[in-house]
Symmetry: none
Subunit: 254 residues, 3 copies
């Protein structure tokens, strides 16, 4: 077991505040296991673990943890407000707009809280313009979406024969969201993998775990850390499917 | 209690196949409760109930029920293949693309099965073109999105100051998806309400239940049927939040 | 850290098979944390933990874990097939019929596997009759439902003014399911609490955690074990809400 001091130190680094005194088995186990072990592991940095954690707590609709992790991600300086807002958009695509709505509101609230604590007024967010929306030309968007789909998924783009594939996947998800500035492709994978894990979607789980590895954006050892981290926050039961996807990818490797 | 005969007849009408013999409390209770009571209730037609059910089984990642309900919706003629494909796109937005992926594949599979059973070859789906994507002009999309947001939600559009609101909500969700042909606004609400119910997103639950009622697209009595139907398919635990949203809307009525 | 030997022994007892060799951080952590610590804790027996676990893995749509835990629950003799089938029905009510459908199929599969391993033919399940469905008299069902609601929730029954309350809650959930033989009220609580936890339904979380404690069916110390167990299987992120509900119940105690 990690020493309580270590767990508390890791808590302080990750959450950016002093750890409360544990009063129940849940408190004690989450301090020891989450902070003494999981966040403390080598193989995946704290900033990378923040993307995984943010996706997990947002997918879980966990009100207090969302507050705490958004605050900590911003206060630590690990994520800029622009990066945090990109996480919200990317998360919305993978876990649905309704769940993302709580994340969006939390980012506004914690951004204001952070500035209030510093005795500052939070700067207004910029009014976005059509420049933020990518190319206006629809053919160009679809071509871009096909190319991005291939790069991200390491398989050919789907046929443009259903609204889901055409207006959705090619035009918006890969034609726009994955091509936006603000997060790297590796960072978007760190958000996507827990989202597909939370969604129990077998096809996307195999495809996103496999392509993250295949592309080299995430090493096999890093993937194992992502899976363990996800399992702590979103449960061992769902972690199993991600773990199996990684195992099969490796088994298929020459 | 409905007679077993009635429950079996309703099963046959809804599922378009003969009911299997119940052998467990689960079998028996689901036949009696789901078919003898829920689907058999007046106040919401079978076709309307199909939208609610499709969203529920897809949100639940329930492989066999997704197969059965997609098949039944198509075989009954209640939904055309174009409408079914619109349901998939709309569902993708509200429950995330990974969950929708299974629905998309199921629609293809059941479409082929249905034709195979009839000794026919399933016609290829049409190759979509940019005309399917709505206006190319980005200003026009955003303006359309703001207007649609107001109409659907019966509140002002959000500020264009985060990627979630601007590139997501205004540009795509309301600037494109809700404005597509193929499903009426009422039909899109029948998909959206179970999706937000499944997502546990408090803000969207209150907003979509309230605005469906406020707009007159769904009557209070119909909403109660939607909630009961949802609770049967997605569980009483989550049904509570939709029910509370309807109660509060009514309490706020003059 | 618990010794690897202990974790392996607990695994053997719980899962009824020899533990595989851990090959990844996920394997290692789930062996050590789940079996070396969680299942190994005093304060809640292994049989009780099975109800919590079955609800968690079924809610998570975790295919392999559902297989393994259904098999282990039956093979250990901790649950009879009749009790297992009651768990499926109870789970269906709280997490919805579509998710329960996978559990139902798994029970059949593992029941057959268990008999096949013993060189036996699995006995056919009985064909259920209307006797299994409780009283036909509808007034009697509602009266029974109101009484059961009060006993389980330790608050007055809701008004019969919506289909959700009347046809759903009073007629079916409390008028039938909770009153069925086959599982005790305490056992039904062990299934219900993880279900409402998985559903993120704030009202039902407070009501079921609070009433389980209030009724004396579950002690505060047992509830802490249920929450820790749930958090391991369904994630710390969602565990937080159950934990908060228990904390508030205690704070409100005289």
């Amino acid at each position: 077991m990690t020493s309580p001091t270590t767990a508390d130190d890791v808590y302080r680094t990750v959450m950016t505040v002093d750890p409360p005194t544990p009063r129940t088995p849940f408190d004690e186990a989450s301090r020891q296991y989450l902070f003494g072990e999981v966040w403390n592991r080598p193989g995946l940095g704290i900033r990378d673990r923040r993307f995984v954690t943010l996706a997990c707590v947002a997918a879980a609709d966990a009100v207090t943890p969302i507050d705490q992790h958004v605050y900590a991600a911003l206060r630590s300086g690990d994520l800029t407000i622009e990066q945090m807002n990109e996480v919200t958009l990317h998360f919305a695509v993978y876990c649905g707009w309704p769940k993302a709505s709580a994340l969006e509101q939390t980012v506004r609230k914690q951004w204001n809280r952070l500035h209030a604590e510093r005795g500052q007024e939070a700067p207004a967010w910029p009014t976005l313009t059509v420049e933020d929306l990518g190319p206006a030309d629809r053919e160009e968007r679809i071509r871009g979406g096909q190319e991005e789909f291939r790069t991200v998924n390491v398989i050919p783009a789907p046929p443009p024969d259903s609204p889901y594939f055409y207006a959705g996947i090619l035009n918006f998800v890969f034609g726009h969201v994955w091509r936006r500035d603000g997060l790297s492709r590796r960072e978007r994978r760190l958000v996507t993998i827990p989202c597909v894990g939370a969604s129990d979607a077998v096809g996307p789980i195999f495809s996103h775990v496999g392509s993250a590895l295949e592309s080299g954006d995430v090493t096999y050892e890093e993937m194992q850390e992502i899976i363990l981290h996800f399992s702590a926050y979103y449960g061992i039961a769902k972690g199993e499917a991600l773990h199996e996807a990684a195992r099969r990818w490796r088994a298929g490797q020459p």
